[in-house]
Symmetry: D2
Subunit: 490 residues, 4 copies
């Protein structure tokens, strides 16, 4: 889902926008969903929602905050039912944040429906305009709501028939879990941008964005929901069907580089395996004359271990992360140099002083944070600072459910590698090559999307998005949200 | 508006469900609306909302609580614009309360629209079913939302043309204020059930349910919006038109008996004038051998003064009201007799002891409260207790925007006057006659609705409502609200 | 108690600062105390506290807000015990408000003690300085805390012996309820400034500031606690003793004029009886050529009824009070004339137009509010406005537990009656005489304090207070509170 | 400080109870203190407080929650002054939590004083009893309050003279920062249990528990405050004096093992240096036949790197920590095996399967958590699990400011190493020896306290504490807190 405005994240990473989870056929469906969402909060931890069905009625709750804050004991008691779906996401600022929280819950002519979406539709604006022209009234600024209206408008008699009909009208990335009175439906878009996994627990079915959610509840991983597959979980068991002819897959490679939890299996492959391999290959492609390998915690740690192992340069925890970073932070009026980084990371002088340092991180978006880190490490006494990044330069925004800045804000699209090195004041800079990155995820068959590294997008409608983004002025989020003049990309 | 579930009020009165207010052409439109709502809180004080338009964009805020709690200084600062509408109402329990708060704000194919409604549509369910059949998705359980969907579905090109078209499809009571980007539209249903007044302030236009709202902001009362009239307030000034042929009027007589503030002019007549006259006529119709006239505060005070003046029996404040009644209240486990009344009223023994008392109130709904008061007065030493009520027995519920219990809960529909007297353990009981009540409001021309006293309803669709009410089971509010199985009356 | 800083009240009345309540020997002691405080909120409704003893341990809760807000169901469940005391008061601004909330609860060498105080000590500062000099650490800015330290410092072996010893060192007004592990002690200062009543309920003992608190819980009024009396309620029953030789009494006459609830018996006399008599005597002393008597609601209503009855001029509710006055209120930038009064009162033009009006209120402090009311009534069309006040001019502040402005802010101390009449723009002004006021409360024996009308104070130490008040600069409340530079009067 | 009741921490570590910080002579003293506390939250993150002095008046704020939550922008604006002290700590449950929050702020005969304490007094109960016997009233259950009363009782004329006098009466651990109107005083107990450092920033003086707080604000580390030293920071500059003759030092060795941040310099030595050395020495003392070294994140990571480097066995991130652990957590009714550990850690099957694993952590308190981790790792496919701990077995509780369970709950005091190995179901278990641990912190001179490993306590009064602990029954925290029946150790 995409709600048309964007919090920008301080730590200079791309961010996944959502995690989804669903359960069918368990007396504690909502509690398991709560635990599933809990394990998926790295995919978005600022709002959360759960809807449960007891066969007749829907019970639901959404709120701003972390899962353990939103779902208190009294709230959980109200979420009765053997089937449930849930959603966790990065919130957006302003009044519309809670309004846009998911799952969407509506009551239409096909009965009550709830829907949770991970991904982003690229033709949402076009579809919405057509629907509004016919008198539909949208309540949110979310691209996800067009699916709900397409379901309501469908002449199909049942919701199961309406889903394929509706999905054939949208384009883009969607891993969906849908709740009806008596079933959970899980769907993945034909290209399979975002992950979606199927599991079992004591005879019940579970669905989730990543397998780490299954581990927490002790569920068994069965398989991925396939691209273009619709799985219906009901009293009748599990039914699978495909709603479009097969197309070329486009798995998000960034899930392995950064988004997914290292303990998950994503697109059928353990993430930690990919991540260490990224570090090994990085050491081979870009060795360095150095005394210590220092990870940028926590994102660079796995690759740094790989780099250290392969290169033989010892690993040291030379940057310490502060664990208590609040969302708001009061700065002194008198400037403290590079304060925004200092508040998160502190160098360990005794490990850096008079050493040649290899600094390892997984990716660079704008580059401003890394510049401050390089400077901080040098001020702590490092003799040389070599920056190594375990993926190629990012040159293009994502329109498939990732929160990215505009093209012109991406340092990789504006500068060459040597210019970036100079900008960062590093002694050397090495990015992993596209080939090595694909090797690390075992992408022999070309099933992955790497548009953010190449600018080659696997769907239509992206030109319009890029153009809109280029034109986007200084409208505030609230006005965009309210007036339905949608955000940049949907 | 009617949201399909009902708080029941402890004080055994009918209650108005809403007050509306609007301003066009004033730089502080939202602040004036805030003050207008503040003065209208006797029409509903549990939630409030304001929407302002600055010509391009809508700015809005709604919340649960009293007006002065909901609208804080920072909130008010966001409500920029020269035009604004507002709504205050009795809230309903549960999660849907805020969802159903008004004004409704939507963005449809005719641009952004906000709408605030006082009254209740009697054919809302029928219209809604038709709209949902065509794929419309309703977000609330409110009857008011059908108007919004009718506006969106209309093939008229502008919102001004769409309003009459939409309103011709609904039946019932509605005093509406509607906000568009560049105008405020005020409409009153063809029978004129609920009041709606027009005023001026420094060149700006104001609209409100009662004139007491004009007094607070120093606005001048111009006239009533007429039944069936649509008034458009914009840069072009004030335009008036009628959207239906004239029908017989049906002003709510209860506005004069109880709802409206005594300092308002309603349906063109000062309310306090009606209320004292009710007391005078009551003294003439039902005199009593008594030593003191005691009002039930505060509802019976005006009529008690009239009764005392006309009868010559001295007025005494023999019942003292507690001013700090919270919404929730913890009772001791050990029963205190008639606690629910004691917590609100305390008798003054020195004024009641060894006196023959006339107890005056304005109306009786269920009768249980009055029975406790009679008992309490007698226990304080009264020799005799004569109850006098300044309107006739209420025998039928209202479907035009008033919160009333079902027919079978109305003591007037179940018992004769002498049975009621016995039930209350009073020495005598006198209700004002219908003729006197109509005389008190100067209704020579038969323009008032008195369906609650007679059962003669001025619109169709009421049979269905009565039947639904009779069948209504024990569904909880939440399930009714969510499943769209609507409340009793719409 | 007096906490050293003062909220000033908009309605231009003196205000009582506290109400106290206590129960011994009832399984629901805290719940009864809650109800007692509820009925006493006219004596202070901005913070409340209850402490219960179960024989071994104290359980307590205090909070800002009305009684029904502060004491929720879960809170009440924790307040276990057969004995309890409670306190309700006007809060003060700033951080210290909750800190200063009562009952005070401490654990000293004589065991746990809790104490609730209505009144004000006039030598608190002197005693405190001495105690601090000896190393005592005060936690609050309240005069009440000196009593607690005197109890802890006492060489008496038990708390019962320590109380008389401690109280002989303080001067001023105090109606106290004190809780120990196994008893409730109720004490009234030797002059009896503030009321304190004893009652019974089902074998338990209750103590409260006014009898209206007994009515709510169905307790029987036994008698007043006498001036200088200490009553101990314990398993051993009720024990009474006197801790000083008798002195001249000084009951606060303002309790009958304004503070106490009209349904209470205070100083042995029904308040409502005094209040009507004040109106009768006012009509005799200051008749007026007029068409209507209009009370200023609600403070003037009782006297207005007496005035109307005695004079024969009919009573009309010509000023309507708004019931939803919030504590904060946002004003429009563009001035609305006399807005601060309009927001509370609205004139009923149809009752005032072309009439000669007698406006009745109970007292005038600064006079600014009454000036606005006179103006408002005149603007509503009154031909003449005669102001009648049911007590004499107030010329001097109170130092015995009443919240009053400084001497120079009292209009009665600065202007003659004819100057006040002119200031108010009234056609005539009549104040009740001191003799009539004393007659209305049946004060033949001179047991009442009327220092605020005469400047004759019944205790020492008042000179110092007046002087301090005259010198008081612009220190903020917080600094006064923290630094222990105490407020004006203690 | 010790408040007499204890939260037990889920992660089976000892925990430091407090961090302190102070600034003198900087216009943004409170903001720097805020940042200092922010960096010290690993020493206690559940409540925080700051007091600032502007030379005349104290401004303060305390609250429950993390530093960035407690100190909002509006709060910070009130904390005016050139001198400030702050405190952050683990909160305790119940009503007394906020009451016990520090800094303590009182107004005594020597003027206003604020005090923040890291450590614990072992003779607090004895001193308190004596003070209460003389009439002192304690407001908290904290051992720290006795210092405040000793200051108030002192016959010394100034606070500077009173401090040494008071401190000579207490025994135990205390690193204190004290604020007076015009100075900051920093004191460390004669044995120097807890760290306390002095720094400079732009001409101002800063004091803090660890140097990581200086790094964040860009202050320069000057030196440690010495054991038994009192440093006064004022307009007159820095004055140092000693208040007792020198005694043997007793630095807490656990500060290097676990408590302090690795980027701090503590007791004059970089913590990270000690921590890696612990790992190296552990590998030498307890090698293992294994394929991978797996740290228990995050506490075991530094030692694991040392172990891996020394042993040559490759480091792998085989346990992934969940970053979103809320304070409360709802469990499903149906048991999930080892849920309490799963919710924090998830094994990475691809790294553990068919491998022989060395699991490294820094310490073991009860052992139950480690047992679950061993089991989890084995279930993920490990062929063998060797547990290595980078300190000796803990056999005795700490009474010097650390939150520890009772002796009988310490697995090291109840079982031999081989029994513990069996209990944990590990294939082997190795603890670092005391000599190696002392070598890792370079303790050639015997300046460190290692009572928790040996039971040899460096102060008196500990017998009483151990006895009290053995007798401690099941009194609730609240009753202990209120009745002043103090917790186990003071």
């Amino acid at each position: 889902m995409n709600v048309g405005n964007h919090l920008w994240f301080h730590d200079d990473h791309f961010h996944d926008e959502c995690g989804v989870f669903a359960v069918f056929g368990h007396p504690e469906a909502a509690k398991l969903t709560y635990l599933g969402l809990y394990a998926l909060q790295h995919r978005g931890q600022e709002s959360a929602g759960i809807v449960a069905s007891d066969g007749g009625r829907f019970n639901h709750h959404k709120g701003m905050g972390e899962v353990a804050e939103v779902f208190t004991e009294p709230v959980m008691k109200t979420l009765v039912g053997q089937a449930a779906i849930g959603h966790t996401r990065y919130s957006t600022a302003g009044e519309t944040a809670l309004l846009n929280a998911q799952p969407l819950v509506v009551n239409c002519n096909k009965g009550p429906i709830a829907l949770a979406h991970n991904g982003n539709l690229v033709n949402a604006q076009q579809v919405r305009q057509r629907l509004e022209g016919n008198g539909s009234i949208f309540q949110t600024t979310s691209d996800t709501e067009v699916i709900v209206h397409l379901l309501a408008q469908s002449r199909a008699e049942s919701i199961r028939e309406a889903i394929p009909e509706a999905l054939r009208m949208v384009e883009g990335a969607y891993s969906l879990v849908i709740l009806t009175r008596d079933a959970v439906v899980a769907v993945r878009d034909p290209r399979g941008f975002r992950p979606l996994c199927l599991g079992r627990l004591d005879g019940a079915w579970v669905v989730g964005s990543e397998t780490c959610a299954f581990d927490l509840i002790g569920a068994e991983y069965v398989r991925e929901i396939e691209p273009g597959e619709m799985v219906i979980l009901s009293e009748a068991g599990m039914e699978s069907s495909y709603f479009t002819p097969p197309v070329k897959h486009a798995y998000c490679i960034f899930e392995h580089v950064y988004f997914s939890r290292p303990d998950s299996i994503v697109f059928g492959r353990p993430v930690q395996k990919s991540r260490e391999m990224l570090g090994w290959l990085l050491a081979r492609e870009h060795p360095a004359e150095a005394d210590v390998v220092i990870p940028v915690p926590d994102s660079g740690t796995a690759a740094a271990i790989g780099y250290s192992t392969e290169s033989g340069v010892p690993l040291k925890l030379g940057l310490i992360r502060n664990h208590y970073i609040g969302r708001t932070f009061i700065q002194p009026e008198q400037t403290i140099r590079d304060f925004s980084v200092k508040v998160k990371l502190n160098p360990v002088r005794s490990l850096l002083e008079n050493r040649r340092v290899v600094l390892v991180d997984d990716s660079i978006v704008r580059g401003t944070t890394m510049r401050k880190i390089v400077r901080m490490v040098r001020e702590a006494g490092a003799l040389a600072v070599h920056v190594r990044i375990s993926c190629p330069p990012i040159i293009s925004p994502c329109f498939y459910g990732i929160d990215t800045p505009t093209k012109r804000e991406l340092i990789g699209s504006q500068k060459s590698v040597s210019e970036i090195c100079e900008f960062m004041e590093a002694d050397s800079l090495g990015y992993l090559s596209l080939e090595s990155m694909r090797k690390a995820v075992a992408d022999a068959e070309g099933r992955y999307c790497h548009a953010c590294y190449t600018g080659n997008y696997p769907t239509d409608f992206v030109e319009l998005q890029l153009q809109a983004e280029a034109e986007a002025g200084d409208k505030t989020d609230v006005e965009q949200a309210f007036l339905g003049e949608r955000g940049r990309r949907d």
